[in-house]
Amino acid sequence: MASDIIDPTRRDFVMIASAAFAGIGGAASLWPLIDQMNPDASAEALASIEVDLEPLGEGQAITVLWRGKPVFIRHRTPEEVSMAKKVDINALPDPEAQNTELPEDAPATDKNRTKEGHEKWLVVVGICTHLGCIPKGQGLTDQKGEYGGWFCPCHGSHYDTSGRIRKGPAPDNLAVPPYKFLNDTKIKIG
């Protein structure tokens, strides 16, 4: 062959082919190694739970476990509801509703964080949006923070009676999980 210098020889071809084989093979085997750490199907399975609200008196709250996360359900008193409704949305640290069933930019009104006709019930994921602690405020004698909702003991975040962040380092309001009322006293979360 006269054009040896420009044309790849058989040896060049073997070199390039094996380098490509090693390179692409290495890159391709990287993904399974990374992805094995992601939640698997058994963790992904969107389990839903039903909760009976009947025994919950006014002012009482319960915590249920949904997808490994605690969910706060609070039977709010009329004062707590009116306190939650009175808040100026523009003055909130996080003005978004954080309701998975509403658009992302829905304002954080108490209406957007509860179900119509069931305003006395507040259902939120009980995980502080700062660093994942469980805020205090579920027990009757718990410290509820300066806004009467929840208080996170880890780094001092205060949530109001609508689960909205009011003071402290947490960036977001407590998330509202997907749920619906099956009847007046029973909800299905998930």
Partner: protein, 431 residues
């Protein structure tokens, strides 16, 4: 430091080996002959003490792994099994737990010594950077190890620390949460998380051993710094590593071991948190979450800043800034002993670190938060403003001409034999 080898194989086997794998020659050169400044004080024994701590952690850790069960149901009870049933299990576990604290205590003294005597300056930048890398690895390993007893503090420490990554959501929405789910292997900290932390807690110490090897290699290329910061110039400035340094290190290690042993036998839980004897409960956060004492300064910095993302960045920056110290300090003089202005700032910095440690253990509110912010500010000002600025404006005290002159006083011949039994060099060089 390069020096001519005086190793002579003494018997048939070592002669045979020396021509095939000169490992005995290497050991002889690096750990017997290695020239060491004659004026090293006891702060220089912490390198040896740290190697000792590493060995203790490795041995006790390997033993503990023989009895520990990394499962959500059994992790907590397997720790109690180690404590009550396993022969000498209590000794292994308490040594490992107290050992972690002693490791950090020695590391903090070692780092402070490096900062005071300018051990990070040319030509020891790589040596210093490897040291910071070791410190980072130590923190990761300690964090993972703390999760394994699966008590309340373990569980909530993992929850809080892994959630730090969710702050990236502020930059690109969703990315931070995706990283956190990836670390957890689920939607919350679970047995899956515990298993991977155990795997990595076993792996990373061996990586650490490798980096420690590089750290010692780098040290043996450039040689020890010393309290004057003046390099070794002649043979009379140095003593061989063995027996001078080996004996001094061994003596210091004995004292260190006494404190270590006192903690193991008389106050094994003094440095721990009692809440970690309550089994992990994902539905209840302990009323007051605090990390182990050695992470309190970083924790105080995290909480001092009101924004989640900036708090996380500041906490990581407080470690990462150490990587750049070699270039942030503009002074030509290494040792703070000869730096009349910087000396004050150095001690202010040490006070700041201790104050942050104290504040990290207090609730993040009111006057505690106020002071945490002041000291966090000074922590960074020290590195980013004080270090570059003082180096330029300060007029250092005169340095001794040599280590020998510093030890024996002015006018002493550098070949003076006092305190040095070997023959002095014939031609003293006084540069």
């Amino acid at each position: 430091m390069s020096h001519p080898s005086t190793y002579e194989p003494s018997n048939g086997f070592s002669k045979w080996l020396d021509r095939r794998l000169p490992v005995l020659r290497l050991m002889h050169g690096q750990f017997i002959e290695f020239p060491t400044p004659r004026n090293l004080n006891y702060l220089w024994t912490f390198g040896g003490i740290l190697s000792f701590c590493l060995v203790v952690q490795l041995i006790t850790g390997i033993v503990l792994a023989m009895h520990y069960v990394p499962s959500g149901d059994q992790a907590f009870s397997s720790i109690e099994h180690i404590m009550r049933d396993v022969n000498w299990g209590w000794l292994m576990r308490y040594s490992h737990a107290v050992g972690g604290s002693m490791f950090f205590l020695a590391a903090y003294i070692h780092i402070a010594r490096g900062l005071y005597y300018g051990s990070y300056k040319d030509p020891r930048e790589i040596l210093w950077i490897l040291g910071v890398l070791i410190f980072l690895l130590m923190m990761a390993i300690a964090f993972m190890g703390y999760s394994l007893p699966w008590g309340q503090m373990s569980f909530w420490a993992v929850t809080v620390i892994t959630n730090l990554f969710s702050s990236f959501d502020t930059i690109i929405p969703g990315v931070g949460s995706a990283i956190v789910r990836w670390i957890w292997g689920g939607y919350s900290v679970s047995e899956t998380t515990l298993n991977r932390l155990f795997s990595l807690h076993y792996l990373l110490p061996f990586i650490l051993v490798g980096v420690v090897g590089l750290h010692i290699w780098a040290l043996h290329v450039v040689g020890n710094n010393n309290p004057t910061g003046v390099e070794i110039q002649s043979d009379s400035d140095s003593v061989p590593f063995h027996p001078y340094i080996t004996m001094k290190d061994a003596f210091a290690m004995s004292l260190f071991w006494m404190i270590f042993a006192w903690l193991i036998f008389f106050a094994p839980n003094y440095l721990g948190h009692s809440d970690n004897y309550i089994e992990a409960n994902p539905l209840q956060t302990p009323p007051h979450i605090v990390p182990e004492w050695y992470f309190l300064p970083q924790y105080a910095i995290l909480r001092a800043i009101p924004s989640k993302l900036l708090g996380v960045i500041a906490m990581f920056a407080s470690i990462l800034v150490l990587f750049f110290v070699s270039w942030l300090d503009t002074s030509k003089v290494r040792s703070t002993k000869y730096r009349p202005i910087y000396k004050w700032f150095f001690w202010l910095f040490i006070f700041t670190c201790i104050a942050l440690g104290y504040l990290g253990a207090k609730p993040a509110e009111g006057v505690y938060l106020f002071y945490a912010r002041i000291f966090t500010a000074y922590y960074f000002i020290h590195f980013l403003v004080v270090m570059p600025l003082i180096g330029v404006i300060e007029r250092p005290k005169p340095l001794p001409n040599s280590i020998t002159e510093d030890v024996l006083g002015k006018g002493s011949s550098p070949s003076g034999g006092a305190g040095k039994p070997e023959a002095a060099p014939a031609a003293p060089e006084n540069r």
